[in-house]
């Protein structure tokens, strides 16, 4: 699969081009842009233009730099790494860097290993607001980023460990910040009661804002409540974490759907945050849709109806259309509602299904068959009742440019009998309620134009976040958006420049305790990723409310936590102390450390002990040493075992914990 320059953030493909180290002051660590597509083939097609654009930007910056330094074609040298830039060490903590909310993952995993669950929970709560919920439902961008994947192992079960913190913690109510007695007089409206709005509310309430939440349903939680079945996320867990925020003094207006933004703006609010998600499920308008409509349901509406207990049964034979996470939830819910024969039918090949790997696994464990390469042709019906579906079998073919097309095979159409069909083929935003003449500009795909840093729309008073801003993502993105939007709203309300973003908090502390003792456990666990225990299917399949995953017990959690490589414990190098004995070079188990003469980055990357081919990962470059050599450390597969520091006679290497805290409004 050709995914060069591409990465997947939730289900959307993005282009990312790393920026050479000497240009980072100017351009940042990498250039990235969403391709706004779920399809690899489309992403591959769109990729090249964006990559070219990024590259020319980098070349232009390089030229500018060379001119500034009076260099023409003079041989370039790798610049000394500026470790005072908080992003350098942050990037070494792969999981935290990959997390949209930048939760300090290794920090809380160590707390779990020490059985300090409450503290682990609070670290999470500070950063991602919903640890118990995310510990069960997060899309886990951190896990594919885990360094263990680069040493050919499975990632640490970060998400499961987060749940452990939530499961075993003590009461935290006394630790949560309280809203001050008097408000600061500023009133904020939050439209939509999902994770984005709740995060904004939490951040702004504690610094004295008066926040009012408008939600169309009778309870807050948004898609966390309506679209995630209870067997994955128990209602009690959801309620507790949502109530933590409501109880801070959030004013709520339930059952109040906003139908006109124009009218709404007449109300007395200093700023408005729109976190209405992507609530409209896509329909499938093929032959027979109208006639059989009684038994054809939109996936997310179906899940909502289950969540609010509006339905409690379904036909015996159910077909679920679609290969995303909603489809997985739909088929598993159907099984629990009493369906006996549930099938998932996908247009694309199995390997290109959009659902998270683990959700597909869970579905298959419940013996739900997934049919790939079946394109729905018509709904079959008799006497106004759905009787089955007809599919055309296809084959996914790729042309030279990597464009995928689903080409019908000459096989006979496939008929599948069914009583109900659930359509879970994607969801869209719905902004019919926002008039187009009130100053909110709408752009591509009828989405509002939103600044990706400030989350401000073209109407200065109105901010967007969560799925409402850029289409369907995951809860963790909504939380990250919420924090940033809160900062913007605060600055906006105080007439400050909202483009001037606060710096993250950082702290670098030596872990040295004795001659060769560290205050972190530097022994590398050889254990394989532990599986999470599950409820027996004879029980779990009978109820919508019995949670399938039991979560790690304390012992398993401890062992899984030990697998964490402590990537936030940084290898900090002091040139002035180094006597160049090369002991660190010899001891390093993964051959990361090199002493050699400086040169251009591509030459250095080629000539280090083991070529540093992963350009996404930086080289730590020292100042020049007495023998005119430079120390280069490839951050790629460093195990953070601290042996370089243990074998260093002068303490030129030290292991220092780097805590990076994303700026928040309070």
């Amino acid at each position: 699969m050709d995914t060069k320059y591409l990465f997947k953030r939730h289900n959307t493909y993005w282009v990312k081009v790393a920026v050479p180290q000497n240009l980072r002051k100017e351009l940042g660590f990498d250039l990235r842009r969403s391709l706004k597509t779920h399809e690899l083939s489309i992403a591959q097609k769109l990729r090249d233009a964006v990559v070219e654009e990024f590259k020319s930007k980098i070349f232009a910056a390089k030229d500018g730099l060379n001119k500034k330094n009076g260099k023409g074609s003079v041989k370039t040298f790798m610049p000394v790494t500026d470790t005072s830039n908080p992003q350098y060490y942050h990037k070494v903590v792969d999981c935290q860097y990959a997390c949209p909310a930048h939760t300090p993952v290794p920090e809380y995993i160590r707390k779990i290993a020490q059985q300090e669950y409450t503290e682990a929970y609070m670290i999470n709560w500070e950063s991602n607001v919903f640890p118990g919920i995310l510990g069960r439902t997060c899309d886990r961008p951190c896990e594919p980023a885990c360094r263990r994947t680069r040493t050919h192992e499975k990632p640490v079960a970060i998400c499961r460990l987060k749940r452990v913190a939530a499961d075993y913690r003590d009461d935290v109510s006394h630790l949560l910040p309280k809203a001050p007695d008097n408000t600061n007089g500023k009133k904020i409206a939050l439209i939509g009661g999902g994770p984005a709005s709740l995060t904004v509310a939490r951040d702004l309430l504690v610094i004295g804002y008066e926040c009012t939440l408008f939600e169309k349903d009778h309870k807050a939680g948004g898609l966390m409540r309506t679209n995630i079945p209870s067997f994955r996320l128990p209602v009690e867990v959801l309620d507790e974490e949502v109530d933590q925020i409501l109880d801070m003094g959030l004013k709520t207006k339930f059952n109040s759907e906003i139908i006109s933004m124009k009218d709404f703006l007449k109300e007395d609010f200093d700023a408005v945050f729109v976190g209405t998600g992507a609530p409209k499920g896509r329909d499938l308008n093929i032959e027979g849709r109208k006639e059989a409509s009684k038994n054809i349901h939109i996936g997310i509406d179906f899940l909502t109806s289950i969540a609010f207990e509006h339905i409690n049964s379904i036909g015996k034979k159910v077909i679920v259309l679609g290969g995303g996470n909603t489809a997985m939830d739909c088929c598993r819910s159907s099984l629990r509602l009493g369906a006996e024969d549930v099938k998932v039918v996908v247009r694309s090949p199995f390997s290109q299904m959009k659902a998270s790997e683990w959700e597909i696994e869970d579905t298959m464990e419940e013996n739900i068959p997934i049919f790939e390469n079946h394109v729905p042709k018509k709904f079959l019906h008799s006497n106004g009742k759905l009787s089955g579906m007809e599919f055309q079998k296809v084959e996914a073919l790729f042309d030279d440019e990597g464009n995928r097309s689903l080409v019908p095979t000459d096989e006979e159409p496939v008929i599948m009998e069914c009583d109900d069909v659930l359509v879970a083929i994607g969801q869209d935003n719905s902004f019919e309620w926002i008039e187009r003449d009130i100053g909110i500009e709408f752009g591509e795909w009828d989405m509002p134009v939103v600044n990706s840093t400030t989350f401000q729309s073209t109407h200065p008073k109105i901010f967007f976040g969560g799925d409402a801003a850029w289409g369907p993502e995951n809860i963790i993105w909504a939380a990250a958006h919420g924090h940033q939007a809160a900062i913007s709203i605060h600055k906006f309300c105080h007439n400050e420049d909202i483009n001037d973003r606060p710096e993250p908090g950082t702290n670098l502390i030596s872990q040295k305790m004795g001659l060769h003792e560290w205050s972190y456990d530097n022994d590398i666990s050889q254990a394989k990723r532990f599986l999470v225990p599950k409820t027996d299917q004879s029980i779990s399949l009978k109820s919508l409310k019995v949670e399938v995953e039991k979560g790690f017990d304390e012992k398993l959690a401890m062992e899984e936590a030990q697998r964490c490589l402590n990537c936030d414990v940084q290898t900090v190098f002091s040139e002035s102390l180094c006597i160049e004995c090369d002991a660190c070079v010899d001891i390093c188990p993964t051959d990361c450390i090199n002493f050699m003469f400086n040169g251009p980055e591509d030459e250095i990357r080629k000539n280090v002990r083991i070529p540093a081919l992963n350009i996404e990962q930086d080289l730590l470059v020292s100042k020049i040493l007495p023998t005119k050599r430079t120390m280069f450390k490839d951050e790629d597969v460093c195990l953070h075992c601290g042996l370089c520091a243990e074998r260093c006679p002068t303490g030129a290497w030290d292991m220092q914990t780097f805590l990076y805290e994303e700026a928040k409004v309070y």
Binding site: H516, D523, I579, C581, A583, D586, D591, P626, R647, P649
Partner: protein, 351 residues
């Protein structure tokens, strides 16, 4: 001291040699020597040399005496045979082992105390007899295990860590070995891996007595400003006589040296040592000159390094003694007992 085991995890792109082994497969247990000890660098160089030559550990025997240096065989080639002998008596054990099985590669690891003091007699005779061994002297000029007294190789002008003067002149083990007839004498510095690794490879391939006198700074007791065996001092006073390229049999010669400055020395098994002379008037095949240059360098306070002397013509002791090629434990009654017919013919020849 390091309390954890070196993680078995290695770089996913770590290369493998002809035997399908990675460099990590040639390691030993984690070192218990002081952090930054030169001896650990030498162990790493031995590992690299054995890996590069695709040597099989079961064909190697590590022999050592007593001292920091003599602990170090634990830290490399943990699949090889090993014997940690009595202080200064490693050459005797090596001689016995060599007589029993001349097919193994013998790596003798010793220090300046073990070799130049208590074991000097053994060392001299091993060199004189052309014992087939690669003899490493991990030379730090100090008795590290007993807290830093001067050893017999410490230069006279080199003070102790506590400022005391050294009253006696040093022994130059390289010059001594050349004089005693050793066929291969090299000197190097633990901190110069580029020079050390080819030198070790060549020494291991040399049949006969190969001495490698390796200056190996003692970070705990002899790496201070007044020392002449510190990292800084050696780097400033290192005078390399040649660049060495070891070319195993069947490999193309890659080194491209200027004409007239190159000497190619064929080894016993057909491998080639390709030397680039760094000083015009130094000839490593000239015994008399080698000794002279060593003396000159010493007077100037320089440390002469590289391949100092090589005599490819030399015969090792098993050849001189005409010892059976087959290891003793593989000789059966058939070979050991010639039978009455042969005995009769021997007896009759004595009449």
């Amino acid at each position: 001291m390091t309390y954890i085991l070196k993680p078995v995890n290695h770089h996913p792109n770590l290369e493998k040699n002809k035997l399908g082994l990675t460099r990590r497969d040639y390691e030993g247990t984690i070192s218990t020597l002081c952090a930054g000890c030169g001896h650990d660098s030498i162990s790493a160089a031995i590992i690299e040399a054995c890996y590069d030559l695709s040597l099989s550990s079961d064909q190697i025997a590590k022999l050592s005496g007593i001292g920091c240096s003599s602990k170090s065989p634990s830290y490399f080639l943990n699949q090889a045979h090993a014997f940690n002998s009595v202080h200064g008596r490693m050459p005797s054990v090596a001689t016995g082992a060599n007589l029993g099985n001349q097919n193994l590669l013998y790596l003798g690891v010793s220090g300046d105390g073990d070799t130049a003091s208590i074991g000097i007699g053994q060392f001299m005779h091993a060199a004189r007899r052309q014992l087939n061994i690669t003899y490493f002297v991990e030379n730090n000029g100090t008795y590290g295990l007993t807290k830093g007294q001067f050893s017999a190789t410490n230069d006279q002008e080199s003070k102790s860590k506590y400022g005391e003067d050294n009253l006696f002149a040093p022994i130059d083990l390289a010059a001594m070995a050349i004089q005693l007839g050793a066929g291969f004498v090299g000197r190097s510095f633990s901190g110069d891996r580029n020079q050390l690794v080819p030198l070790i490879k060549a020494a291991m391939k040399f049949k006969g007595f190969a001495l490698l006198d390796i200056i190996s700074p003692c970070v705990a007791f002899n790496n201070h400003d007044g020392s002449t065996k510190s990292y800084d001092h050696i780097r400033e006073h290192n005078l390399s006589v040649s660049n060495l390229d070891f070319v195993p049999l069947g490999k193309e010669i890659k080194a491209d040296y200027k004409e007239g400055e190159q000497i190619d020395v064929p080894l016993h098994d057909g491998a080639l040592l390709s030397l680039e002379k760094l000083s015009k008037d130094y000839d490593p095949l000239d015994k008399k000159q080698a000794i002279m240059k060593l003396n000159e360098a010493e007077k100037e306070g320089k440390v002469l390094t590289g391949l100092l002397y090589i005599n490819p013509e030399v015969k090792d002791h098993t050849e001189i003694l005409n010892i059976s090629d087959t290891p003793l434990n593989q000789l059966s009654e058939k070979e050991l007992c010639p039978g009455s017919k042969n005995l009769d013919s021997v007896n009759s020849s004595l009449n």
